[in-house]
């Protein structure tokens, strides 16, 4: 599904933008997440001139170093049952998969935020927690446990616990999620899952030149 490798000025422009592959002719269109529009507008040089100085290689809104932000949807979303998972004494469990093959090995992650939208019949979610582990055939070690906020998207920072900060990211990240509901019985559905990944490509961020 790839177009033939471009040549001439188009290839030079691709190289200048550090894009190695010729992009696919027509991507699967999906709505652009509001957070990505917000980050794009925040980096608009005209907005910066209007009184918001921009630090090079820094994502102000997220408060981290970086020059590339990716919104990566869960690639297993459509294979999941739309029906809520019933607990019957067991914890609701899901597997989410993120395709990170487009991340260059030289990029270093500075923020990896898992965002989930859970739909549950229970209104009282007091004491609910989400457990995050790397997916494996046998139950993997829990790497992170975060409280489930009522009515809001659940956000969990994976950097450090699940994604190493100073290393290349894996080509695929598959996570096993399980919901701990305390003593209550829950029927919950994972409606949406995505990963907001911020990375720093040092090649796009040259060090400041010193004056002689």
């Amino acid at each position: 599904a790839l177009e033939p490798a471009p040549s001439g000025p188009t290839a030079a422009l691709l190289q200048a933008l550090r894009l190695h592959e010729a992009p696919r002719a027509v991507p699967t269109l999906r709505p652009v997440p509001p957070v990505m529009w917000r980050l794009f507008r925040r980096r608009d040089p005209q907005a910066a001139r209007a009184g918001y100085p921009l630090r090079p290689c820094h994502v102000e809104e997220l408060g981290v170093a970086g020059n590339i932000v990716r919104h990566i949807p869960d690639s297993g979303l459509f294979s999941r049952s739309p029906e809520p998972t019933r607990t019957r004494g067991l914890r609701p469990k899901w597997t989410v998969t993120f395709d990170l093959s487009g991340v260059d090995p030289v990029e270093r992650p500075t923020r990896a935020r898992l965002e989930l939208r859970l739909e549950a019949e229970n209104r009282d979610r007091h004491g609910w927690e989400l457990s995050v582990a790397l997916w494996a055939e046998s139950p993997g070690t829990e790497l992170l446990r975060v409280p489930v906020p009522p009515g809001l998207p659940l956000r969990a920072d994976l950097l450090g616990a699940v994604v190493a900060a100073n290393m290349s990211v894996p080509r695929t990240l598959r996570l096993a999620l399980s919901l701990h509901c305390g003593a209550t019985t829950a029927r919950a559905h994972l409606a949406e899952a995505s990963l907001l990944l911020v990375t720093l490509d040092p090649r796009l961020c040259p060090p400041p030149r010193s004056r002689r």
């Binding site: 790839l2 000025p9 188009t10 422009l13 933008l17 550090r18 592959e21 992009p23 696919r24 002719a25 027509v26 991507p27 699967t28 269109l29 999906r30 652009v32 997440p33 990505m36 529009w37 980050l39 794009f40 980096r43 608009d44 040089p45 921009l54 090079p56 290689c57 020059n67 590339i68 932000v69 990716r70 919104h71 990566i72 949807p73 395709d99 093959s101 487009g102 796009l204 961020c205 040259p206």
Partner: protein
């Protein structure tokens, strides 16, 4: 799209010229979400007297460039020509696009737009 040459010499004095890259015209409009193109601009022109001398509203020139222009005017020397007309100030751009895995990507690039040219 580039700015056409001006009368007299092919380009006249050193200054910023308009260069706009349209993503539609390079066939990238299917996957680049925003912007629709970018105003890259470029520098072109000669750094001769009196244009190279510092003046209000003119391109900023380094002292070294002024000295070199004066020497060239007095004694043209092969191999030691006029200073170059190059970017003096650049600004960044951000590009929002779909990658090959249909992820939405925001990439930020430093020094992509010429804001000002000068003799160096």
């Amino acid at each position: 799209h580039t700015e056409p040459g001006v009368g007299g010499s092919p380009w006249g004095a050193c200054r910023m010229r308009r260069l706009h890259v349209s993503f539609r015209e390079v066939g990238w409009h299917h996957w680049v979400i925003a912007p629709r193109g970018f105003l890259a601009n470029f520098c072109q022109g000669t750094c001769t007297l009196p244009e190279v001398l510092p003046r209000s509203g003119g391109p900023p020139a380094l002292n070294h460039a002024v000295l070199r222009t004066l020497m060239h005017a007095a004694t043209p020397t092969p191999g030691a020509g006029l200073p170059c007309c190059v970017p003096a100030r650049l600004s960044p751009i951000s590009v929002l696009f779909f990658d090959n895995s249909d992820n939405v990507v925001l990439r930020h690039y430093e020094d992509m737009v010429v804001d000002e040219c000068g003799c160096r």
